[in-house]
Symmetry: C2
Subunit: 311 residues, 2 copies
């Protein structure tokens, strides 16, 4: 029995946030369906930001509703505040992810409030969630700029651990530690993620790496050594951060799955089906930068653990 490792596709949210083309809802849902057919169960399908802020997400309700209806899928949505969370709760989305920045400067630039104020927002979201009747919705607590910040530079590791513990205390069901601007290196990732896992190890911990400086997959191996078994990734490495100049996007889903499988983990994902999906999405998003090595070089002859996925 191979140990399980989880890959959450964040392309329909983090990837589409940065592209020029407004993708029709039907295609966003086709992307989700394709990923599901390749074996990905967790997808961050959209963002409940105010529609005028990111026009790509004007159809957030429609996409979320479609994803929630998809059998076998466990969709999540990103929310910037209580209002966004309530939109997610109203649709019974299984998981709602709220993100704040460990860097005060980044949090201020991003949502015009201090990190403490954002933590209080999270507490309010958790309270509303707890008072809700019906199926319990999971809350993801995302910590952006956990490995450094383009505005402030270094970010205190102790502060990241403290924020993670506070989020859990307030009701987070998963902690997502994000290298928003691609500053993390494997030494730092191993150290910080060990500390986070030690502090809140009873709650699942995921890492969200950007590949801005080429260290994305090296950082995944470091996080694995620290005990992390869940990773956000984006098809073809789409995405990025508006506060990370010259940024490339997230780590590439196909390459991440390939590496995890080669390392002996069971992701449940069929890389070749992902590559087919990627070719389709490539046609939908002309002029975007599609990164990733496996789609270009192909799987090695020694690729052993092809997942058998029944759709």
């Amino acid at each position: 029995m191979r140990e399980r490792a989880h890959v959450r596709e964040v392309g329909p949210r983090d990837g589409l946030q940065m592209v020029k083309t407004i993708l029709p809802s039907a295609r966003k849902l086709a992307w989700c369906r394709g990923a599901l057919e390749a074996g990905i169960r967790d997808i961050e399908v959209t963002s409940f930001v105010p529609p005028k802020v990111v026009p790509q997400f004007t159809d957030a309700e429609e996409v979320a509703r479609g994803a929630v209806a998809m059998q076998g899928l466990r969709p999540s949505v990103l929310v910037p505040n209580l209002k966004g969370a309530e939109r997610g709760f109203a649709l019974d989305v299984p998981q709602v992810n709220y993100v704040l920045s460990a860097s005060e400067a980044h949090n201020l630039a991003n949502v015009r409030r201090s990190t403490e104020e954002s933590l209080e927002d999270f507490a309010r979201i958790a309270a509303v969630r707890d008072q809700r009747p019906g199926v319990r919705i999971a809350l993801g607590g995302g910590i952006a700029t956990a490995f450094g910040c383009t505005i402030a530079g270094a970010v205190s590791e102790a502060r990241v651990v403290e924020i993670a513990a506070r989020l859990v205390e307030m009701g987070a069901d998963e902690i997502i530690v994000a290298d928003t601007v691609g500053y993390g290196d494997p030494g730092q990732v191993r150290r910080l993620m060990k500390a986070v896992v030690a502090a809140i190890g009873h709650v699942p911990v995921a890492c969200h790496f950007h590949d801005t400086r080429g260290l994305g997959l090296a950082n995944v191996t470091a996080a694995l050594e620290a005990g992390v078994r869940a990773f956000d990734a984006s098809l073809a490495g789409l995405g990025g951060c508006p506060f990370a100049p010259g940024a490339t996007g997230n780590i590439d889903t196909e390459d991440t799955v390939f590496m995890l499988e080669q390392l002996g983990f069971d992701t449940g994902v069929d890389v070749e089906k992902l590559i087919d999906l990627r070719r389709e999405v490539e046609n939908w998003l002309p002029g975007e930068r599609f990164s990733g090595a496996i789609a270009r070089a192909g799987l090695p002859k020694t690729y052993r653990p092809r997942a058998k996925v029944s759709a």
Copy 2:
């Protein structure tokens, strides 16, 4: 005191082997000088293959002679056979690297002989070296396709360790373990390199990774964990292997130095000077694929250990 890690620039050999432009000797030497000024002391400057096989290396003698004359530089050359080695010996090149493939099929395709015959060639080269008067020339023993082969698939790890031990026994002063076709993954690298270091740990061991499938830098971190402290890399990731379809090149020198420094190692190399050199070389090689994340994204604000290089 930070621990030392070594980066050998192989762009003038491995990189230029694959490009369309025949670079004039003066520019090859300017490349070496630029790398030296950035703090790189070890450069594989050319290949003593028969000139008709690779026209890029028709000027191998001139380049080697120029590099040997460069104060502070420790150039090496790649040789395919005894004849090539003798060309290197004649010029007093400080190190001569001979490469054979752990994969029989790859060795046959590459040099039309068995791996055992290639080992015997190495023994003859070492004997000639040993009988030579004057300064002792170091011999590098390179093991290609050590992590798998596009022709044969998997390659026996025990065989790689055996070849490394045989090369050392025959007189190799350094072992260079190469992922020629980009099949290696961090788990395999950690395992195999631990075994190699354990078998021949008294002799320096270097890794030569290609980034064909995006795992190049993750493999560097795995090799570091196994005790390896020397890495081949190519400016802008130039290079590749004619037997690796769809291949990208070597791991990128700038990104490798960046990661090693972030991990706390002292490479003695100034990344910003390397990026300046890269821009120059980019002008010389129109139409080539220049990869690498640091040249695109820039160093993070948290980049601490800038090497102070006195040229």
